[in-house]
């Protein structure tokens, strides 16, 4: 399972302040500590407050790549910011986060991902908004897969995000997301991969960590490949490690927890 560390995001005050002050230190610390905690990718988002995300994004990429080898997930609402980020990447193959399943936008993002050799996260939503149930989500996932195939983008490089909603807002969605994750694997061979924004499930709820950990193990059981998550929650990372062993994705050893921790940044 790919764990994408969520912390380098301008929505968090420390990151917003560091971006504002062009101070690399807090961002580099988050890059190193998330990697050591078990992040296999690092999400990078300038946040909504910056005036020119297309200038800030390359700075963020450079700042992070100075201290870690961990690959990046370039996260922005607008295409120019993403493209500027992609141009700045010098290390591993990045993930683009993300496009909606609207034909015109899909084509632009798929072409960009193909040209830059990046993976792409595509959301099962369109201009009308989030789907109600699994069938709706799957219809959009199918559109994403077909468009990717048409444009010669490898379907296994797609990460489809079935959109997790907070359980206190849309309780009925969690189970639909799990069903979608299962069904997405039947859409193509080789199948697309799946990703969720895990912390969304517990947004605004008490006992957030418990909800996150429980949902991640349920989603892994349904076949989830990746999660954008809070890797500073040690028990979450340990749950994922145990899940990988129980799903026979990793060879068991008595030291199975040691093997996910203590990742070195470089």
């Amino acid at each position: 399972m790919i764990l994408i560390g969520e912390r380098i995001n301008g929505l968090f005050r420390d990151v917003a302040e560091a971006i504002q002050a062009k101070n690399p230190e807090p961002i580099q610390r988050l890059a190193v500590t998330q990697t050591e905690a078990g992040a296999t990718y690092l999400d990078i988002n300038t946040g909504p407050a910056v005036a020119d995300p297309a200038t800030v994004m390359p700075w963020l990429v450079k700042t992070v790549e100075e201290v870690v080898d961990t690959p990046l997930c370039i996260d922005a609402a607008k295409l120019p910011a993403i493209e500027a980020g992609l141009k700045a990447v010098t290390k591993s193959r990045p993930i683009i986060n993300s496009t909606i399943a609207e034909r015109e936008q899909l084509e632009k993002y798929l072409t960009m991902a193909r040209d830059y050799g990046a993976y792409l996260i595509a959301l099962t939503m369109n201009r009308r908004g989030v789907s109600r149930d699994a069938a709706d989500r799957l219809a959009m996932a199918m559109e994403i897969v077909v468009t990717a195939d048409e444009l010669g983008f490898s379907v296994s490089d797609l990460f489809i995000d079935p959109l997790v909603l907070p359980v206190n807002v849309g309780q009925e969605h969690a189970v639909e997301v799990l069903e979608t994750i299962r069904q997405i694997k039947t859409l193509a061979d080789p199948p697309p991969r799946t990703v969720v924004g895990l912390s969304n499930v517990s947004q605004g709820c008490p006992h957030r960590l418990l909800l996150n950990r429980t949902f991640v193990s349920m989603a892994m059981g349904s076949g989830l490949d990746a999660a954008i998550a809070d890797v500073f929650d040690t028990q979450l990372v340990e749950t994922v490690a145990a899940g990988r062993v129980l799903l026979n994705k990793e060879i068991y050893s008595d030291a199975f927890l040691q093997s996910v921790k203590k990742r070195s940044p470089k």
């Binding site: 990793e250 060879i251 068991y252 050893s253 008595d254 030291a255 040691q258 093997s259 203590k262």
Partner: protein, 317 residues
């Protein structure tokens, strides 16, 4: 209609390790092993790394109750391990020497750590080829003996062990400090193989200083178990199990000659033990063995030719 060969691509690569180091003046050779991105000898799938290397085993004591074919060959040199090793390297083409310190066993000769270490250094100096040093199997004694060997042969990049998940700290630390490599051993068990490798990583031993010993079963005595474990380990490693992405060493001579079939059979023509040893090695080469330790010179020669042929060369029998 054109035919396109299906190529099996793996995302990961076995780590490349270097055994042996030159010191000024003695021209010592070194070996590179590992580095494969494919299954053994399938070079059409991708880079298959360094060819397996074939070494020979030398004991510090005269083995008791040797089968006649071994005694006939080694009899004249068996009492002198340095001479025995020199013969292996210079007459019989051993690419490395594996010195088994049986005599250190408190139940046997209880040889002192200093004597063992001096012997290891003398073998290194006399042969000019890289050295593997094995303890006697008594954990407490091996800890002091292999530590002393590490210090005395510092900087020569010997491969030292074995270490197991029950006993690894002292030997691995000594090896690291003195620039050697360690043999991570498991009892024919993929889970325990991973365990010892994770523990060594945790201790800080780099991937370039570990070789795995999945424990060899000779032909007829567990060979298929060893094969399955090695195959599972190698496939997992190539698919991304990084703690197992390491070269493997197998002790074919020692295990094959323990079989009663190796010691019996016709006394003229092909010695059955030689065939037994060569078949054990040939099988494990297919499972991913990177370092093969042999006993009989003729079996060693046959296996070397076999590797040459598998790599696309001519085989001379």
């Amino acid at each position: 209609m054109s035919f396109e060969l299906h190529r099996e691509k793996f995302p990961c690569r076995i780590s490349e390790v270097e055994i042996g180091a030159g010191v000024a003046g003695n021209g010592q050779r070194f070996l590179q092993v590992g580095g494969a991105s494919t299954l053994p000898f399938l070079s059409f799938d991708g880079p298959s790394g360094h060819l397996p290397v074939i070494g020979m085993e030398v004991w510090d004591v005269v083995p008791e109750l040797w089968p006649a074919p071994l005694e006939n060959i080694f009899g004249p040199v068996a009492g002198d391990p340095v001479e025995w090793a020199r013969h292996c390297a210079q007459e019989w083409g051993a690419e490395f020497i594996c010195l088994r310190l049986r005599g250190a066993d408190p139940e046997l000769n209880d040889a002192s750590p200093e004597a063992c270490a001096t012997l290891a250094r003398d073998v290194l100096d006399a042969t000019g080829v890289p050295l593997v040093v094995l303890g006697c199997g008594n954990d407490a004694k091996d800890n002091v003996v292999l530590q002393k060997v590490s210090e005395t042969c510092a900087g020569r990049r010997c491969l030292i062990g074995p270490v197991t998940s029950d006993n690894y700290r002292t030997i691995a630390a000594a090896a690291m400090v003195n620039g050697h490599l360690v043999i991570a051993q498991s009892p024919v068990d993929v889970n325990m193989q991973k365990q010892i490798c994770v523990l060594l990583n945790d201790l800080g031993v780099p991937q370039t200083q570990i070789v795995m010993d999945p424990t060899t079963g000779g032909l007829g005595y567990g060979l298929e178990y060893t094969y399955s474990v090695m195959e599972r380990v190698r496939l997992a490693a190539l698919q991304g199990e990084s703690s197992l992405a390491l070269p493997m060493i197998v002790f074919c001579g020692f295990e094959a000659w323990r079989a009663k079939e190796a010691k019996t059979g016709p006394t003229d023509g092909v010695v059955q033990g030689v065939a037994w040893e060569a078949l054990t090695a040939g099988t494990l080469l297919q499972a991913g063995a990177d370092m093969v330790v042999m006993l009989h010179p003729e079996a060693t020669r046959v296996v070397r030719e076999h590797v040459k042929a598998l790599a696309g060369g001519e085989m001379t029998l």
